[in-house]
């Protein structure tokens, strides 16, 4: 069984402005990208469960030009606010790294 980090060249999270958090999963090759994309492994439902949201507020975009899947969610707290844990939003991708890839 492969893990997501083994088939990607980059998994990252980052602010998309202070009110949104965006995740990029960039695959090493087209074949694995298409397999993971079509298996809907990285889905609005998975993000909703993991980041405690409703699936409706999760945006999942398949970006074929870069063999990448982009997911954007509302930020758990506004960047830098008293409740925030991660001003740049850069360390929120942890739960994705060891996802099992079919």
């Amino acid at each position: 069984m492969m893990r997501l980090w083994q088939v990607t060249k980059l998994i990252r999270s980052k602010n998309s402005g202070p009110f949104e958090l965006t995740f990029d999963v960039i695959f090493k090759d087209r074949e694995t990208y298409e397999k993971v994309r079509d298996a809907k492994l990285i889905s609005a439902e998975w993000f909703a469960r993991t980041y405690r949201l409703t699936p409706e507020v999760v945006s999942v975009i398949h970006y074929d030009a870069a063999n990448a899947i982009k997911v954007t969610i509302p930020r758990p707290a506004i960047s830098g606010d008293v409740d925030d844990t991660d001003v740049f939003g850069g360390q929120q991708y942890g739960p994705l790294v060891d996802l099992e890839v079919p």
Binding site: P18, A66, N67, K70, I78, D81
Partner: protein, 455 residues
């Protein structure tokens, strides 16, 4: 004008670039040099306080090399989002640095300064007229929010840059502006296809961020023609490939297919990325749709309070085995002590938070992992209306926490390792981003005052 050659000095002014790369890039005869100087990434502190992300020395080093190169080649230099947030005090700071450089290097030029700080009465009028609209996940916006804001800036499009350049400005330093406007103003002004231009600008705005492996900040170069642009790093150690250029559209953007600007939306859905060598990429095929209504995005920050914090760690396995109940008891005892010292009623005047490193400091309540390791880090945090109160309260926490007991040990224990004396650190004022809205101005220049100065 069949092509425009653009040099992006670095992703963010003050982070640096190689002097040698700039020299190489100047031999490619750019039509202008651009550099972004801002970001909301480091948080609300910079917009709220007027402080800057980098030191004056770092800004001066980068700006000196840019101004020397631009003046020697008699080409414009354009800097946007001065000193992190592009508020008036930050614009003034970068302009002061530019004046110093001019004096020291005996440079002379016409300087255009674009003000992005917003007038509160103007915004209230726009709000009443229904000309302010929320963007995604926007907090509530009303006149009180405007009043509470320490600074509010509008994100300029290309129009104020074009205006300044048409008035003969040779160096333009702007307050808050969209990163891409810095690079789009001249090519759009000279009539190139806006779709090609805005896409090139998106690739250029982060400097060398679009290369295959970015080891350090550096310059980037693009040649923009009407129907395509070619991007090639001027640093011979770097290379771009179609994947690295296509991937850059993902960065700090909620969709790789759209880039929203005041005057319209770039759509890269049908863009083609082709290698023209092992280090240069040709991009074509994007489209640009003009906006029905011209809008300017607002950014604002207000004071959220003052904080004092304590950093410590716990290593005792006995404490760690009952960590949650120990911390809950400690928190209760600390709050009781605060009430005992400051009287009932104090509860409403402060907020006490604990961040637990080694447990959930990164993801907070979203963390699913429950294991803890051989030690945990603790950050106690008090937020109050004044610095004096925040520090006074945390001093009570400090003593209670460091001796908080567990049943297994009899006698007085010292349960937390504090690395510092004093244990408490005053963090100063804390700010909060308080708007994510756009305004519809009557004209693209209405919200941006432009001043000129012969330096």
């Amino acid at each position: 004008m069949s092509e425009i050659r653009i040099l992006s000095a670095t992703g963010i002014l003050g982070s640096g670039f190689r002097e040698e790369t700039l020299k190489r890039a100047m031999r490619l005869k750019p039509d202008f040099i651009g550099a972004d100087s801002g970001s909301t990434d480091p948080g609300p502190h910079y917009l709220g306080s007027g402080d800057t992300l980098f030191s004056d020395s770092a800004y001066k080093r980068d700006l000196r090399l840019i101004l020397l190169a631009a003046r020697a080649a008699k080409i414009p230099a354009i800097i946007g989002s001065a000193c992190t947030s592009g508020s008036d005090p930050q614009l003034e700071r970068l302009v002061t640095i530019a004046r110093e450089i001019a004096r020291e290097e005996k440079l002379s030029f016409k300087l255009g300064m674009i003000h992005s700080e917003q007038n509160k009465n103007y915004l209230k009028r726009k709000l009443r007229e229904g000309k302010v609209r929320p963007l995604a996940n926007a907090p509530e916006f009303n006149e009180q929010v405007i009043d509470r804001s320490a600074h509010i800036v509008g994100m300029a499009g290309i129009e104020p840059f074009v205006e300044a350049l048409e008035h003969g400005a040779e160096v333009v330093i702007a307050g808050r502006s969209s990163d891409t406007s810095i690079f789009s103003a001249i090519p759009v002004m000279r009539g190139l296809n806006p779709a090609t231009v805005w896409h090139a600008a998106k690739i250029l705005e982060c400097g060398a961020a679009c290369v295959v492996m970015r080891k350090y900040p550096d310059c980037m170069f693009a040649t923009v023609r009407d129907d395509h642009f070619i991007v090639e790093p001027p640093n011979p150690e770097y290379r771009c490939d179609p994947a690295s250029i296509a991937s850059h559209n993902l960065y700090e953007n909620s969709t790789p297919y759209e880039l929203v600007e005041p005057s319209g939306v770039l759509n890269t859905f049908s863009a083609k990325y082709e290698a023209v060598s092992d280090r240069a990429v040709k991009v074509s095929g994007s489209t640009f749709k003009a906006a029905e209504r011209y809008t300017i995005k607002l950014e604002g920050a207000e004071l959220a309070g003052y904080q004092s914090i304590i950093i410590g760690s716990v290593r005792d396995p006995i404490i760690l085995r009952q960590f949650d109940s120990w911390l809950a008891g400690l928190t209760r005892a600390a709050k009781d002590r605060i009430t005992a010292v400051f009287g009932t009623g104090i509860e409403a005047k402060y907020r006490f938070d604990v961040r637990v490193f080694g447990r959930n400091a990164t993801m907070g309540p979203l963390e699913n992992e429950t294991r803890i390791g051989h030690e945990v880090g603790l950050l106690f945090q008090v937020t109050a209306d004044t610095q004096e109160l925040a520090t006074a309260l945390i001093k009570s926490v400090s003593h209670i926490a460091v001796h908080y007991p567990v049943p297994e040990w009899t006698g007085l224990i010292t349960s937390i390792a504090y690395p510092y004396s004093p244990s408490e650190i005053a963090r100063g004022p804390c700010y909060r981003f308080n708007m994510n809205h756009v305004v519809e101005p009557e004209s693209p220049l209405e919200m941006f005052g432009i001043e000129y100065e012969q330096v």
